[in-house]
């Protein structure tokens, strides 16, 4: 049996892990859907920080975190449309455009964010317990005494799983990423589908960023997303393009993040830089393993990921 203190520490750790994982969960799901439609958006980091910035500024000025969250989402969505226009309409290279979007997001938030640096939010978001579920020992505290945005992420993950596999929209989405010409011939609007899911990816990237600055770390710093967008891109492979798997990936990352944070806070002899490195290093290792599995099992990757579509190519 674990001693009561250790148990409390562990529960607290996992509680924080869920919160930290939520920052990544939103963008990972978003990217899964964008990639399923055939659009790889490496601009997650940029969209996240734009979402983080707008989420923060709107919450800071209106004192309304919900409004801030929506603003962050929309900002991420709008940013994704730049990428959509470049790669869908103009058939530009997806890798480069995504990178440009990241550089853009980091640049623009640095440019406008100077006067908010170190500003704090004074809004506290109430946690509320879900009846019954929160009564489950341990699990209840970790998962069901969270804030509304965390619950929102559960709903998004489960609902999007349903959309992906059980609806007409899901079939159109999967067909577009696997074989755009076939989808087109069957009357699916390939361009609209790709635009929509790229935008959706942007919304969720914005949501992840907004959750970061409104709830998880309620202040503004230059480059506050610190590579979490890239981790989200990596977790898409780990999740094998499935939104439910994304939950595990995000919370795995969240646990490592929470653990290194806890160790740093409690003061260990391990240098903090080596602790801070862990989430990136472990994500790296996980991705290598996941790539091997994807390769061996011949599954997962949307076949036309990254390829532009144009009908009258001849």
């Amino acid at each position: 049996m674990l001693g009561p203190t250790l148990q409390t520490i562990l529960i607290n750790l996992l509680y924080t892990a869920v919160r930290s994982g939520t920052i990544i969960l939103f963008p990972t799901i978003g990217e899964i859907f964008a990639e399923r439609s055939g659009v790889m958006n490496l601009g997650i980091e940029g969209m996240m920080i734009i979402g983080a910035f707008f989420g923060f500024v709107v919450t800071y000025t209106t004192k309304n975190p919900y409004l801030g969250f929506v603003a962050g989402m929309l900002a991420g969505g709008v940013a994704s449309l730049i990428h959509a226009f470049i790669v869908i309409t103009l058939q530009g290279r997806q890798v480069v455009s995504g990178l440009a979007l990241t550089i853009f997001g980091l640049g623009i938030t640095n440019f406008y964010g100077q006067r908010f640096i170190n500003a704090q939010l004074n809004v506290s978001l109430s946690r509320f317990a879900i009846p019954l579920l929160s009564k489950i020992p341990i699990i209840g505290i970790i998962f069901f005494k969270q804030d509304i945005f965390v619950y929102f992420s559960y709903i998004v993950a489960i609902f999007m799983w349903y959309v992906l596999y059980k609806t007409k929209v899901g079939i159109q989405l999967r067909a577009t990423g696997e074989n755009a010409a076939a989808a087109d011939a069957m009357g699916v609007n390939v361009y609209a589908t790709r635009y929509f899911w790229t935008f959706f990816g942007g919304l969720l990237a914005g949501a992840g960023g907004a959750y970061l600055t409104i709830v998880y770390a309620p202040f503004w710093l230059d480059g506050i997303t610190a590579g979490r967008g890239w981790i989200a891109v990596a977790l898409v492979i780990f999740a094998m393009w499935d939104p439910i798997n994304a939950i595990f990936g995000a919370y795995l990352f969240g646990s490592i993040d929470a653990l290194q944070f806890l160790l740093q806070a409690r003061g260990t002899t391990i240098p903090s830089s080596l602790l801070s490195m862990q989430p990136y290093l472990l994500t790296f290792i996980v991705i290598v393993i996941a790539s091997l599995i994807v390769r061996l099992k011949h599954i997962g990757v949307p076949r036309e990921l990254g390829l532009p579509f144009s009908r009258e190519e001849k």
Partner: protein
């Protein structure tokens, strides 16, 4: 006469440098099978793509049921009751039959009600005799089954006008017969069919009327009753189709390629080669007949080292070469004309020079230990281009600007000029016009006469019979029969292609 359901008036469509359709007039009656007949590049596919809304004509109009129809997309086409089955199936491999059938179907609600969809699919299956498992994923189905899914998909949407673009190219003779039964059933149900083919025999079997296209123009429309094969052939190519090649008598050469119990998997991890045995001798063309997807491409790739085989042995000359690196096999004098010439055989964005030296850049005189001599490379490319009469805008222009025929000539020239001891040619004439086809075939025979062992893999049974000295039939990853081409019977080969056993054939 019956009423006209679809009419094209003065359709003109051009692509850069090509006039694909030149003022085409065409009409289709209800309860009719109307064939578009013509060589590759005659403009058949372009015309039906316009009916299907994939292309938009530069001039002319399409009328459906007497009213002008503005078809901007396949979705529009569907609204007019037009359903097209493309030569390359428009199916999503990783989705199930059910999912493919409802893909893009407008009347489908947000949620999928699998039971009711499956019920409707089964109704259609029974009515038209289109058997298929609705829960299977497409990649698990044979080509024939996939074609049935395509037809079901269109009937599910209530298509009245069915367009079939070269549907028989991928089928065994027996599967073709059952397809024709389905077509007749569809016709007797009050629907109309546009059928595309360049095979005269089957055209006469299935059509009511035949419109012949040549170089984007209509040559004429004839009723089946008044048509003969000879006449149609003349209309189609402007001269009599006569392929006769002079060749040396079959030499009894020594074994160049010997394959024993070869097994291997495709990219998805499905076993595609299940124990292939064959021998190819120098100075002969060994043809492999078979329906697409029975392991032909995996076989070619295993021999050339591009795919690892899991079991069995390959000998080239007298040395074993199983699972050697492609470069080692190339060095042994094995050259290869792959099926996928645009991605594997050539690099579309690179110049003719870069493409011409692809197989010899690593050797003298083109290169030294470290550097490539591009002056010599240019000379070499020039030599290839003149010798094979390849039309190239400029030597440094990307090869994607060449026509399909010229691309294939470049590829063939590069491989044949290496003077291989073993030449593997996969679908060497697919998609080529008559002139290019004739040249490619002539060159293959020449290589044989010079003593090369040639392994010819083709889906065109006529081509196999015309060129080969011996024929092996591949089915489900095995050579199921060996036939001497002199006494080859197309029916028997057809049955073996479909997997029938217990035929009276020689064993290899």
């Amino acid at each position: 006469m019956e009423n006209i359901v679809l009419e094209a008036r003065n359709i003109t469509k051009y692509f850069p440098g090509i006039l694909a359709n030149d003022h085409i007039n065409f009409d289709l009656y209800s309860k009719e099978v109307h064939t578009l007949l013509g060589e590759n590049g005659a403009g058949k596919t372009t015309l039906v793509n316009i009916f299907d809304g994939l292309y938009y004509p530069n001039e002319g109009e399409v009328y459906v049921n007497g009213k002008i129809a503005n078809i901007n997309s396949p979705l529009d086409a569907m609204k007019f009751g037009i359903g097209m089955i493309h030569q390359h199936f428009m199916l999503v491999d990783t989705l199930t039959v059910v999912e493919n059938v409802v893909l893009g179907f407008q009347k489908q609600g947000f949620r999928l009600d699998n039971n009711s969809i499956v019920k409707k699919i089964q109704e259609i299956s029974e009515q038209y005799n289109l058997k298929v498992n609705p829960y299977a994923k497409i990649w698990q189905l044979s080509v024939g089954e996939q074609q049935r899914v395509e037809i079901i998909k269109m009937l599910y949407r209530g298509a009245n006008i069915l367009i079939l673009d070269e549907p028989t190219a991928v089928l065994t003779p027996q599967e073709i017969d059952s397809l024709f039964l389905i077509i007749n059933k569809i016709k007797s149900d009050g629907k109309s069919v546009i059928f595309i083919s360049h095979k005269l025999e089957e055209v006469l079997k299935v059509s009511d009327r035949i419109t012949v296209l040549k170089k984007g123009k209509v040559v004429g429309t004839v009723n089946k009753e008044h048509a003969t094969e000879k006449e149609l052939a003349l209309m189609m190519v402007g001269r009599e189709v006569l392929f006769r090649f002079d060749r040396k008598p079959t030499a009894d050469g020594k074994d160049i390629l010997k394959i024993e119990n070869l097994e291997g998997y495709n990219d998805r991890g499905v076993k595609r080669l299940k124990g292939v045995n064959l021998t190819v001798k120098s100075g002969e063309i060994f043809g492999i007949a078979g329906v697409a997807g029975n392991g032909q491409e995996e076989l070619a790739e295993s021999i050339t080292g591009l795919r690892k085989s899991s079991k069995g042995k390959i000998f080239i000359g007298s040395c074993e070469s199983t699972n050697l690196l492609p470069s080692r096999i190339l060095k042994k004098g094995v050259n290869y004309i792959p099926a996928d010439r645009i991605r594997t055989g050539l690099i579309p964005n690179l110049s003719s020079v870069d493409n011409a030296i692809l197989r010899c850049y690593m050797r003298k005189p083109i290169s030294n230990t470290f550097t490539v001599n591009f002056t010599k490379a240019k000379d070499y490319a020039n030599k290839i281009i003149t010798e094979f009469n390849i039309m190239v805008p400029r030597l440094d222009a990307p090869v994607k600007l060449l026509s399909g025929g010229n691309m294939q000539k470049l590829l063939l020239a590069r491989e044949i000029l290496e003077e291989p001891i073993l030449l593997i040619a996969v679908h060497p004439t697919r998609g080529l016009d008559i002139g290019a086809t004739e040249l490619v075939r002539k060159k293959l025979i020449e290589a044989r006469d010079k003593g090369a062992a040639v392994l010819l893999i083709s889906e065109d049974l006529d081509e196999i019979i015309m060129l080969s000295d011996r024929i092996g039939v591949i089915y489900d990853g095995k050579i199921v029969g060996l036939v001497d081409s002199k006494n080859a019977q197309i029916n028997n080969i057809g049955l073996m292609m479909g997997g029938s056993k217990n035929l009276n054939v020689q064993k290899g």
